[in-house]
Subunit: 342 residues, 4 copies
């Protein structure tokens, strides 16, 4: 059994990791830390885990993290970079669900995240954990930077187009909608039920931290810088991201065939038939990206619809997928549930 | 492998049954019928099943129901009673998720359901499928009447009090709240999103079909007729039932100890600690009834809070639990997922 | 024009008061205070008021409260009692939307609210602002204690029964469901969208502060202490309270006639026809209590369904209704909008 | 008093019209038709109108439509074109909230709406009822084609850019999100609460009937055909449209100044300060379009966020605004409520 630790387990990615790891046949969660809640059984905070997860929160100092096989950071940005080296030195593999190791350009990272990076050398070593692009590198990695939720949905949606070089990458548009759990389990007014329900709005249009992450990913696929406009929106639902992607075709191509071929061997990406519209609930609670590709009125604009559960394929499920790869397990292990719908 | 058929699979209990059966290690779903949708792959109607359930709907005539080991009826009331005898005669076990076999008093049944019963003798044979009360009879049954959603939450909540004889059973109150999926997947105006969202209301206060079913169950526990007021409400959520139960104590009793003792060996009932308040999302997608018992201000009124997922412990999950019992399998098999929360 | 001040205007009752007062033909809002937000235009915090309310928040010290004709306290409990005497002495009428003056038994108040009362003599003077019961006293009052949201729905619902003496007042049950705005605009985890959406739960079953307030009101109507069990629940909707009330009849009575007669002259109470089920959205945004009375299966239990908008008839609308009475205006002035539905 | 009739009043635009007209100081609603519900008081179907609207539905034949001053069609597409001529001939002004008179190219209209047009000459006469563009023509019109909901939000959002000629009109993107009331009050499965809640999806990406309407409007502003990609989405909220608009700047321009200047005199358009993000709830229940204009990272892409209440500025409110203009009333009359928020 793989011994797994979770640092910072009081948020939604933490409880979702526990849900998945507790049902994984080859993993035993052995530690979950929260300085603030130390001593409290996890199931007291998250009653959905009652009877299934016996762990209690412990302080980071007391938790047996160095004797784990893998440690997941489900922490705010800036925490993992302080603790990762010590864990790696102890032979522990690390998967960071926050953003500390996602951006290779450390100066760029500092601009967007507002702090100095504690370990630029580890950024250089870290592997970006999007298996559909980086599978082999992930298998060999000690340190994986788990992608952001929006970046997962957007990169997987644009990937076939950009890899095939059939769109103008100087003007890509990603109009994204997220459920409110994407904002985390923080006591903030703007995500109260009475504020976020029955309403819809964009946010961070002047600039969102996932913009440089997506640009980096698309730039790698394209082999050059891309022009990207990214607008995130808050939607009154709990889970789910819907990315609506726009690009201009530069040559004729059978879009449906292109998408089906690219993802033919990807268990966690499902290309819908032509003319379909994926709904976020069809991936609720599962590690799956569903997408459809359109060309409205036969014009030169391609529209891709890409949906994920932000807490699963957009966070904790993808982290488990990465863990499976890092430990040589079947990539699908523990990730084959069926979506809960309705 | 147990070969399972589903009659009437286009509603929410049908798709939920498929979700559970497709993940059950000892069951193979081999047929699902819908006269109207015959030929359509199930996953076209329910995209959450794409890639996991390959069945297509077939007409009842074409479906190999008689060669199944078990057939589930997820049909409107009045259908199962027409087809059950033929299946039983062919050696097939039957679990009816509708109401055809729930009420032993056939005249009473006719009054509430507005039709003649087709097979009163089978009503007499049918076992009421609430395992926490009827486990041994279910093990031996050919025909199980799967309980209604409200009746499950209410009966399990009142059970320890009534069995112990510590409340006045002449005036019991069950104030129940259901998510909208409880109304089924029918094209009706009053359950449209724009009608049912952001609003709350009671319905069927003059009389609801689950009232005689609950009264029958409580009456059996009490050994005499009970007085019951039952008021159902529609709540703007998808899944979940919350039953708030009121009764007047007739003697001193340690309520917490009574409840914990009664359900100590029941895997699918979870008694919360004193002063707790179960929330419906803590049982979302799982076969579990969570409850808490209160005695406000130390008065003579006991308040029980009982929650289930109406589609799982209130319907399809309980049906699988009954199937496990009927086939001598581990009662928990295929029903050990962790609730999806948030 | 009546000059109105609002103390503590950053919560939902504050913004709702502004919405109503800004549309009132005889009122001019002249001050709204918030120590924390002093200087910020109210419309920056509440964009729904842009272009319609030009006020900015001011500190309590700077605000011209003593030159107002009326001051509304939309503050946390314990604030109004500190400032009311000074305002009354300056000839200002005071309406407290919090609980400082609701409970006549000051010792009882202290037990439930956990603080010493600053001015018991003013409690004695204060008039409980439920116009359907206290209209004449309100007209003459300097100081009105605006009722709580649950107490409004519950007292209006029980009123005809208790006044007529036709039910056993020793065992009344009030099962109440509130939208999330009832919890206020506070940055607390349990009322986040991702926590409170798509779920339902009871809270405060061991004891809620509105229990003594309701008991006091029902006791006055009955002329003696009443036995009351009160269970509040949190419902995934923004606005609205649905009270489901249970009592045992002690004599025969035409319930429909009783209710229609009692409220025949009350503009803000609407008794629905027999067999109806009011929905909370039918009173969304308006100062109205809609109710229906039932006697299921002709038994001895009466069930009353009573709905209000917790922010209007349950708070700010009722405060304006009280203000109208206190200033000799038409009671309906500024309160005749039509509910927004769907 | 203006005598107003409504044809087809059982949908959401019908009840919303009644809400607005019943509060309008110069209008008396005298007839509302529904063949199916003839005889039923409107308030029985829409309890929010109880005590405020005394009308009952009548058949189209019995209703005194020809003696009205104005008749609103809140019908499915294809009805108004059958009845308009007779009303116009009788001297009645007509406002069609459906699509019969919106598209000047009758052949194009037939392609999208799947029927022959009954009166192309009246299409030619009809004025497109977007007052911010067509105010003077509306004042003189007998027949107004009230714009669609998406077209209102999109055209108002793009208007300053296109009029000023500062963007490349060959590639405009309108990514739009609508609340579920936009789908109407029809008993259809896909808009059930349990289907549409807690999920998000696009629809009609291959082609939506509002696409030619928007293209026509933008084409008129631009003086030439425009290239437009329009993707509508269904959002789990009742009311509201959020249009996120993308265009490429072809010259330098002070966007904030451009928008503020264009709408300086428009009471029903509110340009937010720079960097703002309008939320749909800020216009809930009111006749207002709020918008903000952005230029992310100072690039060449302009992003406009435009929100309306689909039932008010997107339908019934705009119809009343048009009526005010047609009858020489103050344009704002009856439309000055404050948004209901939260």
């Amino acid at each position: 059994m793989i011994k797994a630790g979770i640092v910072g387990g009081t948020g939604y990615t933490g409880v979702e990791l526990l849900r998945l790891l507790a049902q994984h046949p080859e993993v035993e969660p052995v530690a979950i830390t929260s300085r603030k809640e130390a001593g409290m059984p996890v199931a007291d905070m998250f009653p959905s885990l009652r009877g299934r997860v016996e762990l209690a929160f412990s302080t980071p100092d007391e938790a047996p993290l160095k004797s784990c096989d893998v440690v997941f950071f489900a922490t705010p940005n800036g925490v993992a970079m302080q603790q990762t080296r010590e864990l790696l030195d102890a032979g522990v593999k690390v998967i960071d669900l926050a953003a500390d190791f996602r951006i290779q350009d450390v100066a760029e990272w500092s601009r967007w995240y507002g702090m100095e990076h504690a370990c630029p050398d580890l950024v250089a070593e870290a592997v970006y954990g999007l298996p559909e692009i980086n599978r082999e590198a992930i298998r060999k990695a000690r340190l994986v930077a788990n992608p952001g939720c929006y970046p997962t949905a957007v990169q997987l949606g644009f990937l076939p187009l950009v890899e095939a070089g059939v769109v103008d990458t100087s003007w890509l548009v990603a109009d994204c909608k997220s459920g409110v759990s994407g904002a985390g389990r923080k006591a903030e007014t703007h995500i109260l039920y009475a504020e976020a329900s029955d309403s819809f709005r964009a946010y961070a249009v002047p600039g969102h931290r996932h913009w440089p992450e997506i640009r980096q990913g698309l730039g790698r696929m394209a082999g050059r810088d891309v022009g990207l406009t990214f607008v995130p929106h808050l939607t009154p639902m709990i889970r789910g991201i819907h990315a609506t992607l726009y690009a201009r075709l530069t040559q004729e191509v059978d879009l449906q065939a292109l998408y089906e071929a690219r993802y033919a061997d990807e268990y966690f990406v499902d290309v819908l038939p032509a003319k379909a519209h994926p709904e976020t609930r069809s991936v609720r609670s599962v590690n799956l990206c569903r997408m459809a590709v359109h060309r409205p009125q036969g014009g030169d604009t391609v529209v891709v619809l890409s949906v994920i559960d932000n807490l699963v394929k957009g966070a904790s499920g993808q982290a488990v997928q990465n863990m499976n790869l890092m430990f040589g397990l079947d990539e699908q292990m523990g990730l084959t549930q069926i979506a809960v719908s309705p």
